[in-house]
Amino acid sequence: MFLTDRTLFAVAVVFYGLSALYSIFIFRRGFRDDNWSNYLLLAAAFAFHTLAVFKRGFSLSRCPIHNLYEATTFVAWTIVAAYLAIGIWSRLRFLGAFAAPILFGIGVFALMPSLDPPHGDKPAFTGGWISLHAALVLLSYGAFGLASVAALMYLNQDRNLKFDKRRAALSLVPPIQRLESVIGRLLAGGFVLLTLGLLVGAFALRLPSGAAYWNDPKVLWSAAVWVMYLLLLVLRWGWSHRGRRFALSALGGFAFVLLTFWGTNLLSSIHNPAVDRPAASEPSPPAGTF
């Protein structure tokens, strides 16, 4: 097939862009019409996105999550997949209007050429445990991403219920209490995935010689993210950290992940073996990624 996986992904990003544009229309209409247009646009994007992910995966014969481009597209892919499942329920379908701009942004970012250096003959990382570690962690980011999309929807409707009552009455957005529980469940699900992913990273993978967990920026960052989400969940269930504050925290948490993920990744020697030694010269594959 003459289309490369990056071209397929670019087509998906175009559809995310179209969906983001259509979302402006949905916003302006005040979430009044229950229609499938945006859902179908995102489904089309998902189809191309899936092809791109699978094509890359088959060409490398492994789960394609071993450089920043692959990791970023994988996070976006999990967000869309989860949205398409949740969006079957009519009122939560509007989540697409909040997800599309985020997906479009992530997509454009992922397409930057420097994030996707050629792998050469031998991929930088191999091995089932590494794939499992990376997949679990990235799935958790997908769940946190979708939680922040639901949080945006919550904040929008919360504001309308207080200050733009007409808009709130006419919209078909779900009750905000339900949105809040959707955010809570997504965060809890994401937290479980993140915990499992980090456990796999810590116990099933071998550290490259000379590296240590305690001084690796990415490992410390992951631990901070884990503690942050743990605190958020404990505050919600133990100290009634609810409503707008909870939604803002979910949104802020994901913004933090999104803004610092790439930086700490590049600084980490464990996750970035090219920083201090050529990957091909390592006899056994180094541990861990993302």
Binding site: Q157, K165, A168, A169, S240, R242, R244
Partner: protein
């Protein structure tokens, strides 16, 4: 055989006249029997609600002549002797079928687009059906009417939103709470509107109502009526931990609830969402409380504006609904047995 409609409603007759023509529920089967015995109709349904009294009839007679007999029957059945000045309308096909569809869809109702009438129409039809006073003609027309009502509900906005203050209150509650099933309602100040709003919330599943009023006796009476519990006026704040929805309508000249008083109460409630409905004038609740997190305040103007909005939107949908109804009525009349074909036997009809 053609379908005729004859009757009077809230548009053509005042309540004083409508009540004189109304059929008590228990009398309807006898009236239907008498109607068919009179030869005015082969099939008949009588719809009698507080806003309309109508006879739907299918007859082989010439429509004008049949209408004359039907009017005589209606007047005779109620023993009405005063003069009439056009309060009773008579409709022949296709207007009669269109009218039936409009009634089913709430287009002919006092509150445009209301759905209660559909239930009333269904039970009127059931009574006629059970007593074998309908036949293929009316059966088909009524089934089609119920079907059109469903179509109108899903395809147009005629039933979107709520058109009265109590129902808007319920609608806003449904936009805040996942479900109303376990919501505790508190009524502060027992007035007519707050009672209506409380009833509307209860009918949608709210758990129970606490009533607090300056006069404890009045609170007790209303609480008993609503199946709830009365609370002394000085003590209503103590119950706040378990309250989700407050309907306030006291005649106090100052705010009963303000920010300083509500803030500690919200902590008691562990920041669960709180819906405050203030239908008192002057207002009972300081508008400032709306700035508190998880508190949603609606005053009478907010609710009235939302109700007016829905009504306006419903009115904009009338033309669409009418076009759809005309189309469906035409379909029904076109599929009718062609003239000249032998009439099918109707064993279901009771002829005695």
């Amino acid at each position: 055989m053609s379908i005729l409609v004859l009757g009077l409603n809230h548009r053509t007759a005042p309540v004083a006249l409508r009540e004189r023509f109304a059929f008590a529920e228990a009398r309807v089967p006898t009236a239907l029997q008498a109607l068919r015995d009179s030869g005015a109709a082969d099939e008949a349904v009588i719809l009698s609600t507080c806003n309309r009294v109508e006879i739907y009839a299918a007859t082989t007679r010439e429509p004008r002549q049949a209408c004359g007999v039907l009017i005589d029957f209606l007047i005779g059945a109620q023993n009405y002797r005063d003069p009439l000045a056009g309060e009773i309308y008579q409709l022949a096909e296709p207007q009669s079928v269109e009218h039936l569809f409009k009634v089913a869809c709430g287009l002919d109702s006092m509150v445009l687009g209301e759905t209660e009438i559909l239930g009333q129409l269904k039970s009127a039809y059931d009574v006629a059906l059970q007593h074998h006073h309908t036949g293929p003609r009316l059966n088909k027309a009524f089934q089609r009417a119920f079907n059109v009502a469903k179509q109108i509900r899903t395809e147009t906005r005629i039933q979107r939103g709520s058109a009265s203050v109590p129902s808007v209150a319920v609608e806003m509650a449904e936009r805040i709470f996942s479900e109303l099933d376990h919501r505790q309602v508190m009524v502060i100040g027992a007035g007519e509107m707050s009672e209506k709003a409380a009833r509307a919330l209860l009918s949608r599943g709210a758990r129970s109502v606490l009533v607090s009023n300056r006069s404890y006796d009045r609170a007790h009476a209303l609480a008993e009526e609503l199946g709830g519990r009365a609370v002394h006026f000085e003590e209503w704040a103590r119950e706040f931990a378990q309250i989700d929805i407050v309907i306030s309508s006291t005649s106090a000249p100052h705010y009963v609830l303000d920010r300083a008083r509500l803030e500690p109460l919200m902590r008691l409630r562990r920041n669960r969402p709180l819906l405050l409905i203030d239908i008192a004038v002057p207002r009972d609740i300081d508008p400032e409380v709306n700035l508190l997190e998880n508190v949603y305040l609606y005053n009478i103007d907010d609710l009235q504006a939302l109700a007016d909005d829905s009504l306006k939107q419903r009115k904009e949908e009338i033309a669409r609904c009418e076009a759809l109804i005309r189309e469906r009525a035409r379909e029904l009349l076109e599929t009718r047995r062609p003239e000249g074909m032998p009439e099918l036997p109707q064993p279901a009809l009771k002829r005695d």
